[in-house]
């Protein structure tokens, strides 16, 4: 009988029912995905746009790059902030798998911290010392940030692949690099990359269309919208193709698990695929985004919905992967309902303060001596 390497479930048990943590994990991961798409895809797109502009900020691609890094001053921060919550909840539900996965590729997982700091500061340096501020240059900074984010994505994909495959842990213990040989590694990574680029491009197109519709720098915004729309379209094509390839490359038992998984697996997976194809149809119908502002807005809303569905799908696929060790996940439950209620109250209060603060900021323009 093979030795079971899966650690025991934590004896402290769950401080709430398992469904609640599954819900929180999926929901907060969805929020994280939105900003993660901006950080990863937005930085990659900014790097490409910067290069295409020849490093000049007056070129439409240069303006696109500037907008993306400006947006990412918030985007990267919020990607980190929203990433803390799913990191917390995955440890609650999957600590035996997750910690083991990170330990088996410990060097890379620890390196992620340094890469994140490097990526963030490089993006800031591009914004403050490169073309967005000085009018030219800074390509090295933005490419450094893009490559660092790409490596971070690769590390996350690696941890995911290791933690869901306990049967391969003994192999990974000999060399963590073996995770790169997993047939789904590259398509998984590319799935994140294409989705991130597509989402960031769509946000950029939507913003440019909104500006142009209000009569602000119409020519520049129309150019940006057209460029970004094209990126959004082709990235989404790549996501769909890559997604199909990823499905085909899943281990046979996982694929069978998906087929036999029932409505909980079939519905989100089917909706995700149909949603992505629907987005493609919507995008392909638009030739001039500025003239189709409502379709652009609808496509953005549709993409956010698809991201939510894909967050759920990814979670379901994890459950299928871990199905053979399900017997090891029998938690005792010692609910702390008061503390959960306190969390909900505090979270709502904080969101309320954010809303109040943003409203106050938007309705309090600098006047007279307040203005710079």
């Amino acid at each position: 009988m093979p030795i079971d390497l899966v650690p025991a479930v934590d004896s402290a048990g769950l401080p709430g029912p398992a469904w609640l943590f599954h819900l929180l994990l999926v929901f907060t991961f969805f929020l994280h995905l939105l900003f993660l798409n901006l950080a990863l895809g937005g930085t990659l797109l900014a790097a490409v746009a910067h290069t295409k502009s020849g490093g000049r900020k007056d070129h439409p691609c240069g303006a696109l790059a500037r907008r993306l890094v400006t947006m990412n001053s918030f985007g990267i921060s919020l990607a980190i902030t929203t990433g803390v919550a799913p990191l917390l909840f995955i440890q609650v539900l999957y600590h035996q798998y997750f910690y083991t996965g990170t330990i088996l590729i410990g060097g890379a997982w620890f390196g992620l911290v340094g890469l994140l700091i490097a990526a963030y500061y490089a993006a800031y340096l591009y914004k403050l010392k490169g073309a967005p501020t000085t009018g030219t240059g800074g390509g090295g900074w933005i490419w450094s940030a893009a490559i660092a984010f790409l490596l971070i994505a690769a590390i996350h994909v690696s941890v995911h692949l290791v933690h869901v495959q306990p049967a391969k842990w003994a192999d990974f213990a000999e060399s963590g690099w073996r995770v790169l040989l997993d047939p789904t590694f590259a398509p998984r990574l590319l799935h994140f990359v294409f989705a991130g680029v597509g989402f960031s491009a769509l946000i950029s197109a939507w913003w440019a269309v909104r500006q142009a519709s209000r009569g602000i720098a119409v020519e520049l915004n129309s150019s940006i919208a057209a460029i970004a729309w094209k990126w959004a379209l082709w990235s989404t094509v790549a996501v769909v193709v890559d997604g199909v390839l990823l499905l085909m490359l899943l281990p046979r038992e996982v694929l069978l698990g998906l087929m036999q998984g029932g409505a909980a697996v079939h519905i989100p997976l089917t909706l995700g695929i149909l949603g992505a194809i629907g987005l493609l149809v919507m995008m392909a119908r638009v030739h001039d985004p500025v003239k189709a502002a409502s379709t652009v807005g609808g496509t953005l809303h549709g993409m956010i919905l698809v991201v939510a569905i894909m967050a759920l799908t990814r979670h379901e696929i994890r459950l299928v992967y871990l199905q053979p060790t399900k017997h090891l996940q029998s938690f005792t439950v010692a609910s702390q309902w008061f503390n959960f209620g306190l969390f909900v109250v505090v979270l709502l209060a904080c969101l309320g303060v954010v809303a109040f603060m943003v409203r106050r900021v938007l309705t309090s323009p600098a006047e007279g001596s307040d203005a710079a």
């Binding site: 004896s11 921060s77 083991t100 911290v113 600098a366």
Partner: protein, 454 residues
């Protein structure tokens, strides 16, 4: 205990120390900086003091670049390192305090959004609205400290939690309030340390005035820290204080650390009173740097002390620094480590030395490296039997813990080696670990190489 082991050349504890101290310096600056910046801008707007407002503006840029980037990421870094070197402990903490962490996350989210809005809206919104955003930032940041302080102090003094297992019993533990006061003072000190440099960039005319203004905050920070520190020491259980404070402290190095902590505080106070408050014109760059260094030394020494006096535990009287729990001792002593850890069982199939090496990694490597920090090679006997004899003594030390009543704190100061966890395992484990340790002895190196070991 049943996780694989991540080998760190410098030692897991050292790595955690580096990441944690870098993070706490920045995170306390982020909180104290929020207060000083909000107060500065409020006063500046009321008095029409443009230089004071500039000080707040310059400092807010640093707050964004240092706190929201390095602070936030290094905070995640602590989780990353904890999961790598002490997965059992971080799992225990998270399963008990997930809602505490979730509440802290909500405040953290508000803090980050407010920081970004604050920085992005200088001179773009009314001054009153901008001041309001600054205060939102500070309140959110401070409330995140109010929460995380409960979890951090729980590890050293879990208090009634040991008996009841109740969230709030562990949260409001014996050192919660002293530590909150102490950390409030530290927040002021860290913020003042940084703002002193920002004040130096003001016009010559305003520099002295701003230096004195920040100097008073430093003095306040030192005094609050001192009060908090003394209260913290008084609130510690006798057995913990015995580690560093008794007539003959159990760890003499920690007594020196305590002295350094208090002397650094005294130096910071003296320099602040003389050069920042009384003679601010004399507060040149070297003086300002000395004040900041004294403040950092105080904080770093305190953190080192707080971590070290917890030995041999990660969570006092509950889980040892190698992740083994007191509750695990009896069954593992009877059935061996391989009965609870698949990783140890797998290593046992590869022969006694491989088995012993895995036991070393599981039970010793949390504190000892082979050649680096607390090097094992300098501490082992050449003969396997001698190592085994020592392990027998350490296993017998585990019997003390078995006698603890539910909820009773372990009085480790009575033990033979109070800062080391007991060895936990059966005779076969002792034999294998003893044999492996013998291969580390310098004279046995040749034999080891032949055996394909270290």
């Amino acid at each position: 205990m049943d996780y694989p082991i991540w080998d760190v050349t410098v030692g897991g504890g050292v790595l955690m120390g580096i990441v944690a101290i870098a993070h706490v310096i920045v995170s306390h600056f982020a909180i104290g900086g929020g207060l000083l910046i909000a107060v500065s801008e409020t006063l500046a707007v009321r008095r029409g003091d443009s230089q004071l407002r500039e000080l707040a503006r310059r400092s807010s840029f640093a707050l964004i670049l240092i706190s929201t980037v390095f602070g936030a990421i290094s905070g995640v870094g602590i989780w990353v390192v904890a999961g790598l070197i002490a997965p059992g402990a971080i799992s225990a903490l998270i399963h008990n305090y997930v809602w505490g962490w979730a509440i802290e996350w909500a405040f953290f989210f508000l803090e980050i959004v407010a920081a970004l809005v604050y920085f992005a809206t200088w001179d773009k919104i009314s001054k009153a609205a901008h001041v309001m955003v600054g205060w939102v930032y500070f309140v959110a940041a401070y409330l995140s400290l109010v929460i995380i302080n409960g979890i951090v102090t729980f590890m050293l003094t879990p208090g009634q939690w040991l008996e009841t297992g109740a969230f709030w019993d562990g949260f409001f533990n014996p050192t919660y309030w002293p530590s909150l006061v102490l950390r409030t003072g530290i927040c002021l000190m860290m913020a003042a340390s940084f703002l002193l440099f920002a004040a130096r960039r003001a016009d010559a005319e305003a520099r002295s005035r701003l230096t004195r203004f920040v100097g008073w905050w430093m003095v306040a920070g030192v005094l609050v820290s001192y009060a908090g520190y003394r209260w913290w020491e008084a609130a510690l259980p006798e057995t913990v204080r015995a580690m560093f404070q008794a007539d003959s402290p159990l760890i003499t190095g920690l007594n020196a650390t305590r002295s350094m902590t208090l002397w650094a505080l005294a130096v910071a106070l003296g320099l602040a009173l003389v050069f920042l408050v009384a003679l601010p014109r004399a507060a040149r760059l070297p003086i300002v740097a000395m004040v900041a260094v004294a403040a950092f030394i105080f904080f770093g020494s305190y953190e080192r002390l707080r971590e070290a006096v917890r030995k041999p535990f990660l969570i006092h009287s509950f889980m040892f620094s190698n992740g083994l729990g007191i509750d695990d001792i009896a069954s593992i002593n009877e059935n061996g480590m391989a009965s609870v850890s698949g990783w140890v069982a797998a290593a046992a199939e590869d022969g006694q030395l491989a088995f012993g090496r895995q036991l070393f990694r599981t039970q010793c490597a949390a504190c000892h490296t082979v050649d680096g920090y607390l090097a094992m090679r300098e501490r082992v006997f050449e003969e396997a039997e001698d190592n085994s004899d020592f392990l027998m003594v350490m296993r017998a030390q585990g019997d003390y813990y078995l006698e603890l009543e539910n909820g009773q704190i372990a009085v480790t100061s009575d033990y033979d080696i109070p800062y080391m966890p007991p060895f936990v395992g059966n005779d076969e484990d002792i034999e294998a670990l003893g044999a492996y340790l013998a291969t580390l002895a310098p004279v046995a190196e040749t034999d080891t190489q032949e055996a394909g070991g270290e």
